[in-house]
Every structure is written in C-alpha cells, then in structure tokens.
Symmetry: C2
Amino acid sequence: MHDIRVGTEDVFKRQIELASRNYKLFQDHGVRAFNAMGAIGSGKTLLILRLAERLKEKGVRVGAIAGDVAGDDDFRRFSDAGLVAANLNTGDDCHLDAHRVGHALESFPLGDVDVLFIENVGNLVCPADFPLGTEGDLVVISVTEGDDMVRKHPKMFAQTDVLAVNKVDLASFVGVDPMALVDDYRRLNPHGKVVLTDAKSGRGADELLAALGL
Amino acid sequence: MHDIRVGTEDVFKRQIELASRNYKLFQDHGVRAFNAMGAIGSGKTLLILRLAERLKEKGVRVGAIAGDVAGDDDFRRFSDAGLVAANLNTGDDCHLDAHRVGHALESFPLGDVDVLFIENVGNLVCPADFPLGTEGDLVVISVTEGDDMVRKHPKMFAQTDVLAVNKVDLASFVGVDPMALVDDYRRLNPHGKVVLTDAKSGRGADELLAALGL
C-alpha cells in the first residue's frame, strides 16, 4: 500500500490512534472483536457463520460487520442468519480502516453482542497495513488459491494471530497440499495458530473457536 | 484505493502519462500487451501459460511479466515454460502501476516478443485504478470465489475488455453457477467479452485467444 507513505508517518500514527479508540470502545462494552481477513472467495463469510452457529449454542451473542467495496451480499447473509449485522461499503478502497470502522460502531448496538467479527474487504494485501482495534486477527485462505499463497504474502502472514486454511475438502480436486501452506505459515510465524477448516461442512469450526480463545 | 486521492488530480494525470509512454513503447516494438488481473489464486498464471502454448504453436513469441508483492513463483513458472519473462515485486503495493512497469520494460527484450502478458498483483480491487499502457485488459475470476464475485466489484468489471470465468470444471463441487457470474458481468459491461475457461484442462483457451484478438 503506497498510500500510507504519502503523508509521512502522521498517517500511520493517526491509524493507530483511531484503532486504539475502537479497542477501548470494545473493552468498555465487553465485546471481543476480531478482524477477519482473506482474499475474495476464501470463505470468510461462511466460516464466520459457522462460528456464530456454535457460539449461539453456547449462549454467546454474535455480531458482524460486513466490509466490501460494494454491495450487501455478505451483510444479508449475516442478517438472514440472525446476527446483529452492519454493512460497510468502502467505495473504491481495498481495505477497512479504523476510521471507517469507528463510524460504523457509532450506530452499532455494541451492548447487544459479546463477540464481533469484522469481515474485511476481500484482499490479502492491503488490510495488513490497517489495524482496526480488534483484539485478534483471523486470516482465511482457501486451498483453491494455490500452494504458493502464503509465501507470496509474507507481511500478512507474519502478523496473523490465527490462520484458517479453508475448503480443505476441495484440496484433492485442486491438487494442493494444505500442509504445504501450513509449513510456509509456520516458517513466517512460529507463534501463530493454524486450523484446517471446511466452512461448507463445518469441519474445523470448533478448533477454530478454540484457536481464537472463544 | 484512496492513495490516488491524496495528491489531487496530478497523480491520476501522471499515471496516464506514464501509461501512454508504455503504450508507445509497445507500439514501437510491435508488441501486443495485455494487463492480466484477478484475485489471488484465480488461475492467471496457468491461463497465461495455456495461451502461450497455443500462441507458440502458431509461431508467436510470447513474453510475461510476473507482478507479485513478494517472491518469484510465477516468474519461475513462466521462465520454466520457455517464455521471455521478468519478475516484478511491488514490496507492499497491492497493484502494478505504469511507473513500475516502465522500469521493468527498460531491461525487457521487447524485440524478442510479439505478445506480452503483464500479470498484475493478485487483487481484484486496486489494479482497476492503474492503467499500465496495455492495449487490453483480461480479468480472470474463478468459480471457487463464489457467485457474488462480479457484483461486489462493479468498477473492475465495468471496464474489463475480456473476462475469463475460470476453473469451470470445479463449478459443481463448489455449487456455483458460472452463468450467474456471466449474467452479472453482462449487466455491468454489455460490450465486454466473456469466456468460460478451465486452465488445468485447457478448456476455453482457444476461445479466450479469439476474444483477445490473438
């Protein structure tokens, strides 16, 4: 992202200030918030829905903010599933930032949720540079994206708390070994947690909740 | 991409100037250049390789510039397949721009190729704002990315010359109807050409060459 270099370090600093403000807001409301990132079509929305189903069974109230360049497809999926949801369109921007999220939170009923998933714009590059003020990051990749996915994006994965390698049930069809992705991730980020998931079947959802500390 | 708003309209203008310079360079060398865009894992590299195989059979000399944030996986695939290839890492940037491509062209043997594919960074948002000076755009999407892919990115698809809906052989496994993507595209871009492809099997490659006028 070269945009954040234009205005010198002030832009970085401002982003961190705004993220800290969101962080405090989450804390004040006792909300555990997560920034869900990943490329387009990696399966972020469905995976969040699977986590939400399980959390609901435990009596945990789940909210979601759907970040997209345009449209409200993901918002409607969250909303139809009974989540407290908001839609956040960025127009041309390729990522959410703390400022936009802060505005969305102004009208979001934080008192009605215990866990909030903020689904970032589908993009594996730009969101890495913009902290939102969440307590944790979840990055979702799909085996259909190829086995060079992780090593092509060292920055994103080096700072990821939890990685979900999704659509593992398709691995044999696309000829990709999920463990190659896991190995690349461990090299970049020895302390990160990684879970193999298949959002369609629900596989790995419980392990993913545990990895997120939920 | 909000970076290009920071420096007022000068940045836009500068991009177009630099793109025009590349365009002229391609014309001077009789090179037909294409900007291949699409999300991570959509299958851009393999599809370009399939097109190159067919062009080679016709005696057409093919080159490729592999744009990525990091690494040289795609460059090596091009190079191993015998294409005149160059690697272009953007560091943190989520897209190529005319300036970077211009520098890559300084050392690229344009006299040795007839057709040049410039594979942009895997990202369906940012590259839409940065013309490279190519004569045409090819956007590759994969059915594995979901059936809401096109309508989530109106800007990219409204200006696309040719769309390849790739990995169609996986459509039934992921439960996505390729024709829904085609319909969304036609609504956004009635004059664009669209081809169903499967880079692994080579399906649709001849039709894609025809759509590109090659």
